[in-house]
Structures are given as C-alpha cells and as structure tokens.
C-alpha cells in the first residue's frame, strides 16, 4: 500500500495483483497530470507506417479518459 494514499503500490519486492494494479490506475493518471501534459504519446516515430495502418491513421488505441478509470 502506498504510504501517502490508499492506493496499492507496485512494490520493489514481491508483486502487485492485477486487481490492485487496476485500482491504482486513476490515482496514477491524476498524479502524473499534475506534473506533465495528460497525453504524452509521440506524434511520430520509426514505427509510424505500421502503426497508422493498423490504427486507422492513429499511432495506437485511444487512451481511456481519466474519469472512466477505476
């Protein structure tokens, strides 16, 4: 457990369960948004051709909005 919140941490030793990892997603997204722009996905890379072909002109699936995370 994260000492500063009720969110489970990803520990150094041992492991985090999938359910606990899911529970921490919203907290991690919101925390990151305090120090950097929400979406950081690069606009281009050497993989553009294959990515844009598979994802209909995008470089990946759209990210789940923060409010929809657990």
């Amino acid at each position: 457990m994260n000492s500063k919140s009720k969110v489970p941490c990803i520990p150094i030793e041992g492991s985090i369960s999938y359910e606990d990892w899911l529970k921490g997603r919203r907290h991690r997204r919101e925390l990151g948004n305090r120090v950097a722009p929400e979406i950081l996905r690069r606009q281009s890379s050497s993989s553009d051709r294959r990515l844009k072909k598979l994802f209909h002109g995008q470089r990946g699936l759209p990210f789940t909005p923060t409010k929809k995370l657990l």
Binding site: N2, S3, K4, S5, V7, C9, I10, P11, I12, E13, G14, S15, I16, S17, Y18, W21, L22, G24, R25, R26, H27, R28, R29, L31, G32, R34, V35, A36, P37, E38, I39, L40, R41, R42, S45, S47, R50, L51, L54, F55, Q58, R59, G60, L61, P62, F63, T64, L69
Partner: protein, 207 residues
Amino acid sequence: MDAGKIKSALTDVTAEQDPTIKSLKMASLCSALWAERGVELVVVGGSAIEILTEGAYASGDLDMCHATNASLPMRERQEIMGLLGAKGGPRNWQVAGMFVDVLGPVESFARTPFRRVRAPYGDVLLMKPEDLLVERVLVSVYPGENPTARGCAKKLAAMILDGSIPVDWTEVRRVANLPEYRNIAECVKLVEEVADELKIKSPLHSD
C-alpha cells in the same frame, strides 16, 4: 497453456480496447508462453513506463526483452507466436490488434528486482523504475531537448516520490553516476523540480 486457454486469452486481448490493459494482457500471454520454454520476458521502455504510470505515452506496440541469458531459437519464436495467430517476425509481430517486439537481452544496471504484476494469464515483469528514470532523464536532454521524454520522466518521478512506485534511491544515484549515463545532475534537478511541484522533499542528492 493448452489450446483452449490460448484461444480464450487471445479473444480477450483482441477485444480489449483500453491500450494499457491490452498491453498488460498481451505481455502476460506472451510471458506465459515463453516461460513454458524457459525464457523470461520483461516489458521495457515506454511500454513499461505506461504500465507503471498510466502516462498516456505508449503507442500501439509492446516492447519486450528477455531477462534470461538465452532467448529462443528463431524457429521456436515463430512457432509460439504462430499459436497466437501472429503475422510477421522473427523479432516483431502483429497480433491481436497490436504489435509485439521482442528486442533481445534486457539492458539493466540497477541491482533491484524487476517489478512484477500478477496479470490474468501469468506474471508480467516490468523494467526496473530505477533504470527507467535515469534513462528517460538522459533521453530528455541528449542528444537534444525532448519534451515528450521529459514529461514521461516527470510522471515517473511523481509516482516514485508519491510512493506509488517505491524505488531504491541509492540505486538511482549509483546508476546515474555510471559511465553509461553520467547524468546525476540532470536527475537531481528533475526530481527536485517534481518534488517542488508536489510540495514534498526530494530524497535525491548528487553527493
């Protein structure tokens, strides 16, 4: 993993529309299949940072390396990925609506363990955040300013400072002082900046 389980897992991964969950599930499935043949895979780079931080950073590919010394022979790699209906190879494949790259041996300097998520089809190993932080800070500055890498490093630093991703700061300092990086000053500066923004004290000093 029997054919029925693989089929069911593949259906689940293919249908998944959240890119981060999809990556984690795919890493779990691939890791399980490779582990049955004695090779441990580890998620690296931006793919690992995405799973650790929810940073909305990764694109539609999953980068993995092997943590064990040996990888699998090319023929066996193709056979495993063939079980998943993958196209391409022998180092990158299109599978279940995404791309999977298995890049070679993992490059890690930290003496801490890989982080571990007990994911739906088997454990997923994630690159050590001590390595990831120092590496991302380096890329944010060299060979030139890189705002995306800087944002990524800041989000990772925030998770670490907040306690969501505990790290061994002694290892962060040691890795940043290695000849491979020599960027302790940049790491200290970035972590202090994030600590200030979060109004907490930075535990990283250059001495």
